[in-house]
């Protein structure tokens, strides 16, 4: 059986989403670096894998996938039974809750947190740009409103989809990890249940391993 190839970089947020799944299920894979600074993600070779010219992309034999949330599902399906059940597809009500909170991550949480990470970390460090404080402040207010909901929810539920760790929780990791390296990390201190949830699942071995690859070049 040929090895799964993941095209991306260990620091990139969406590549991390897939790396976490691969590590959680104990899959064997090869991480093939794609150099963003040299525009490799827009090369014909990579566009053949992902016509939107983004990372990650995954190749498994003849199959090519892109979109990290789709790749995550694919990995979890393929290795079902091998690692923890992060999708709960054998129980409709449980899997529906996983899907709900995956959507919440994509459409409520991420749009608030990613501009803050971009402005305060990525723009200055990768592009030598100056953070736009208005964008940061506007999105901090949005993020706090989202965290208000998460706080109430996580006071009643150990993890987002229920009393079980799932892909929905995992999906929050990469941007939140970078957020914790910004000057605004202390925002989470006002949300004790959110903070406890974060500290719980980020202590999983897969997370510690992948997190090490996120900071090695800083």
């Amino acid at each position: 059986m040929s090895l799964i190839k993941l095209y991306g970089t260990p620091m990139a947020t969406c590549t991390v989403r897939v790396l976490l799944c691969l590590e959680e299920v104990g899959a064997k894979y090869e991480l093939v670096p794609i150099s963003m600074p040299t525009g490799e993600h827009k090369s014909p070779a990579h566009l053949a894998r992902n016509p939107f010219g983004q990372i990650p992309a995954l190749q498994d034999g003849d199959l090519t996938l892109f979109e990290s949330r789709a790749i995550a599902r694919y990995v979890l399906h393929k290795f079902k039974g091998q690692g923890p059940d992060l999708l709960r597809e054998d129980n409709l009500s449980d899997s529906a809750m996983v899907d709900v909170w995956l959507e919440v991550e994509a459409h409520q949480y991420n749009p608030a947190i990613s501009p803050i990470v971009y402005q305060s970390l990525i723009l200055p460090r990768m592009y030598g740009g100056t953070p736009d404080q208005t964008i940061i402040d506007t999105n901090l207010e949005k993020l706090k409103k989202v965290l208000d909901v998460y706080e109430t929810h996580l006071a009643k539920s150990k993890y987002l989809a229920g009393d079980f760790f799932s892909l929905a929780d995992l999906s929050h990791f990469s941007y939140t990890k970078y957020f914790m390296a910004t000057p605004y990390a202390s925002v989470f201190n006002s949300y004790p249940h959110v903070k406890a949830w974060w500290e719980d699942f980020t202590s999983r071995p897969a997370f510690k391993k992948v997190a090490a690859g996120m900071t090695s070049q800083q």
Partner: protein
């Protein structure tokens, strides 16, 4: 107890849920949520969706929000009823479900909001945002054009949930001054003409008061 949909018949996201219910030939009760009076921010509604947004679907003990979670739930639970929206469990299907959500939806929903909904609420359209989003959407649709030249539907040879999730926003854009973003691309246009001719979609479209 009938399936309840909390939403409005002109809401892009509520339509995604209703389109799925219609494809499955399921009866449901539409419970309107009066956004103008702030009903979606009141405790009774927040108990259904703590983010205070429509749609929410209540089916027995399950209360589901986020329209893509809803449409997936409907497609899964009622797989044997009406059209099968999950006939293939393929990598291409999962990929293009996500493409709709992360590449297509952000630009098109913002365009529809600027061009159709802002005027409805007495707000001023931001024309520079319109041009910015139109450019983004056009680039995304270039990828769709190439994809649909080789695939009848986004996930391959059969209609799936991945096609359905696109439909409300395309319907709305075609009512706006930016319709040509869709109609100028032959394979995208042909795909839309095919999927919008489905009887279930015609039923959904007939219920939209726009």
């Amino acid at each position: 107890m009938a399936i309840k949909v909390y939403g409005l018949p002109q809401s892009n996201n509520a339509l995604r849920a209703m389109a799925a219910l219609n494809e499955k030939e399921l009866e449901y009760e539409l419970c309107p949520v009066d956004l103008q009076s702030g009903a979606h921010k009141k405790p009774e509604f927040l108990a259904l969706n703590p983010f205070g947004q429509i749609p929410v679907v209540q089916d027995g003990d399950d209360i589901i929000f986020e329209s893509r979670a809803i449409s997936r739930y409907i497609a899964t639970k009622y797989k044997e009823s009406g059209a099968d929206l999950l006939p293939v469990n393929s990598a291409k299907f999962e990929t293009w479900l996500q493409v709709e959500s992360s590449q297509f939806y952000p630009a098109i929903s913002e365009l529809n909001f600027e061009l159709l909904f802002k005027p409805m609420f007495g707000m001023t359209t931001d024309m520079s945002n319109v041009e910015k989003q139109a450019e983004k959407l056009s680039a995304v649709l270039d990828v769709y054009e190439a994809h649909l030249a080789k695939n009848k539907y986004v996930a391959g040879e059969v209609f799936t949930l991945a096609d359905l999730n696109h439909m409300p926003e395309i319907f709305l854009l075609l009512k706006s001054p930016k319709a040509e973003l869709i109609t100028s691309k032959p394979h995208v246009k042909a795909w839309w003409e095919d999927i919008s001719a489905r009887p279930a979609w015609k039923k959904t479209a007939a219920s939209i008061p726009l």
